[in-house]
Amino acid sequence: MRHGKALVGLLNNPVVPSIIEYAPDLVEYIDVIPDRLWYDFEHGEAVGGRFHRVVGAIEELKQCSNGRVLGGHGIGLSLPSAIPLDMAMVAEVASLAKELNFEWYSEHLSMFLVSHGSVPNSQAGLGLPVTYDEESFNIISGKLEVLKRSLACDLLLENGAVFTPVPDTDFSEPEFLNRLYSELNCGTLLDLHNLYVGLLNGVLSPREYLEQLNPDCVREIHLAGGDELAGFYTDSHSGLTPRDVWSWAYEFAPRFKNLRAVVFEFHESYFEKLGLNGIAAELERMHELAETVASGAQMHVN
């Protein structure tokens, strides 16, 4: 049974409050990146501990959240990394989840942290691909159990933008996500634009991917636009959603009976390029999608 119309929203960034002010009825949901609400002093040597919150950011979010649903969308925990979970960060995420009343919490199915770093939050510089095998599954599932106990809300994992997939794996990415769902009830945050990135760079077939993915997994969809860099296409969050991505959304989303939110991601540095009207039009289009999905109809993009 379907949950009703999926919420339409934005990935939080410093310009989201101005969009909410401009078009309050169009934004029902905000994906909050906890890592952007704090300064991480890594060793905790700073007076007051390792995490210092960004002054005013949480208060502003609380104002924006009035009448809206918030979810957490983390970057820093790097669940696939073969190193222990950063428990200090988990505690900080849990504290924010409680304070901001996250309905659910998502992380990326990408590897950001490495073992030889000199500090707990030592970043690889970009999200790296995961080896889809039994060992990775056990690492991720163990960390998800800890996270579930700490956050007490539903957990999702997002497919990343992959440029060099790990070859010769035991599972495909959708098979891995299906297993996380069936064995751990961990949902999927399906980033359709990341599938588009994979298509244009010749590393995956979105249609095959979407046919393999258990539709019941999908709780949230991300839409976005990117641009070209040296002959590659990147997930730069610099533009509006491409036509092919809309097309997959209309074709496949009606199958996602557990879909709770559809979110547009853009980076604030492209706000001037996109414009308030451009973002509002994108949100209106997302409402049309959510209504079509809720009605059970399928529609093709012309």
Partner: protein, 147 residues
């Protein structure tokens, strides 16, 4: 070992020169990392994949982002000399500090150290650097105060 495989991958995206070395002589991987046969084959295939060039570009762009944001005039004033300086810094500090001011302060100390050791910088560029580095230290101090 998966932990070694992941470290090898992170080391490769951080260093295009290392990628070139491994393409030419993949056996080096075995000397540096404890990899199973399967992991070794995977890494060799990945380093030869055309997307590895993009991984390396994105790594570099992500390293540059906080510096371009907080030292914009210095980055512009350095012109073509910025690239080699950033490469040297990335080799010295391959992992990013997520707190942008900490990352920029570390880079600032690196530049300051080089200037003290005789790295030749025009007085105009040095003045820009000192002004922007002072602002970073102030910004960092302010984030210490936020709890």
């Amino acid at each position: 070992m998966l932990i070694e495989f992941q470290q090898a991958l992170a080391d490769l995206v951080a260093a295009p020169e290392f990628c070139r070395q491994i393409r030419a002589n993949p056996c080096q991987l075995r000397q540096r990392y404890n990899l199973s046969h399967r992991e070794y084959d995977r890494i060799v295939a990945m380093v030869n994949h055309k997307g590895m060039a993009l991984n390396c570009m994105l790594y570099r762009a992500n390293r540059l982002a906080p510096l371009a944001l907080n030292l914009p005039r210095f980055c512009r004033a350095m012109g073509p000399r910025l690239g080699p300086l950033l490469s040297e810094y990335s080799v010295l500090h391959p992992n990013t500090r997520v707190h942008f001011y900490l990352e920029c302060e570390r880079f600032g100390r690196f530049v300051q150290g080089k200037i003290s050791a005789g790295y030749d910088v025009e007085p105009r560029v040095k003045a820009i650097f000192e002004e922007e580095f002072s602002k970073i230290k102030l910004g960092l101090f302010a984030t210490y105060a936020a709890i």
